[in-house]
């Protein structure tokens, strides 16, 4: 049990980190969050039912941990957009592209509930139902948060769907390549 639990945890770490970074916008805080999540999850591993969705279980722990830490810190990040985005850390490696940085800032500006909804469904691969379970809310609530998040990101990133369509040096290169072949 312990052995495979550890393996499951290991396999979940990349996803947990990505969720933590998406939620907190800060690399070091995110890793602290993952660390706390590992300890919490380990301590209560007996309450996990093997065969059920461990990813959702771990994400729920991380999410609860995130909000309880935010409450403890007096929600310092939540209402001060400027402070938050100013301290956003962008990893020098893959995260260094201007595009991803822009995206991180836009994501950080979303209200917490909208941000987690769009990340869980749009990136972590959860269904609406699973996301609702992780967030402890109704499926309809997830859907409406998701659509508000999308609309807001579209505005913030000035994605019009026409002229400024996407991040797209790569995909337009691919398109023109396939068009010319």
């Amino acid at each position: 049990m312990t052995w495979s639990f550890k393996r499951e945890m290991l396999a979940s770490l990349p996803n947990l980190r990505a969720f933590a970074v998406s939620l907190s916008g800060q690399q070091d805080k995110a890793d602290d969050l993952v660390q706390d999540t590992i300890m919490k999850a380990w301590a209560k591993q007996d309450s996990f039912e093997p065969g059920t969705n461990i990813k959702a279980w771990l994400f729920t722990i991380l999410r609860n941990e995130f909000y309880s830490q935010m409450r403890k810190r007096g929600r310092e990040v939540q209402d001060s957009d400027g402070l938050f985005t100013e301290r956003l850390s962008v990893h020098p490696g893959q995260m260094g592209s201007l595009d991803l940085k822009d995206f991180q800032v836009a994501l950080a500006r979303l209200p917490d509930d909208q941000r987690e909804a769009i990340v869980l469904v749009g990136a972590s691969g959860f269904s609406y139902e699973e996301a609702a379970e992780v967030c402890g809310c109704a499926v309809g609530t997830i859907k409406s948060r998701l659509s508000r998040a999308r609309a807001q990101l579209q505005i913030d990133l000035q994605i019009s769907g026409e002229a400024d369509y996407g991040p797209d040096e790569t995909s337009s290169a691919v398109l023109s390549r396939s068009a010319s072949s």
Partner: protein
């Protein structure tokens, strides 16, 4: 059959494409983090927890398993 810029239909497809652009960027962002190496301190922590469980004693500072 070739798709080039001229073939885009701005008004009808615009909304969906914008949706897709948001989703695509979100996944790029998320996947970039996912592909990063897991920090050693997190891996070490898991090792220590596992080691502590198996040896039934408290985690010691150098209780790493090889």
């Amino acid at each position: 059959m070739a798709r080039d810029e001229m073939n885009k239909e701005p008004s009808s497809a615009g909304g969906d494409q914008a949706m897709d652009a948001v989703s695509r960027r979100l996944r790029e962002y998320y996947d970039a983090v996912k592909e990063e190496a897991i920090p050693d301190r997190l891996l070490d922590l898991l090792e220590k927890l596992d080691e502590a469980d198996r040896s039934q004693r408290p985690v010691s500072s150098d209780g790493r398993k090889e």
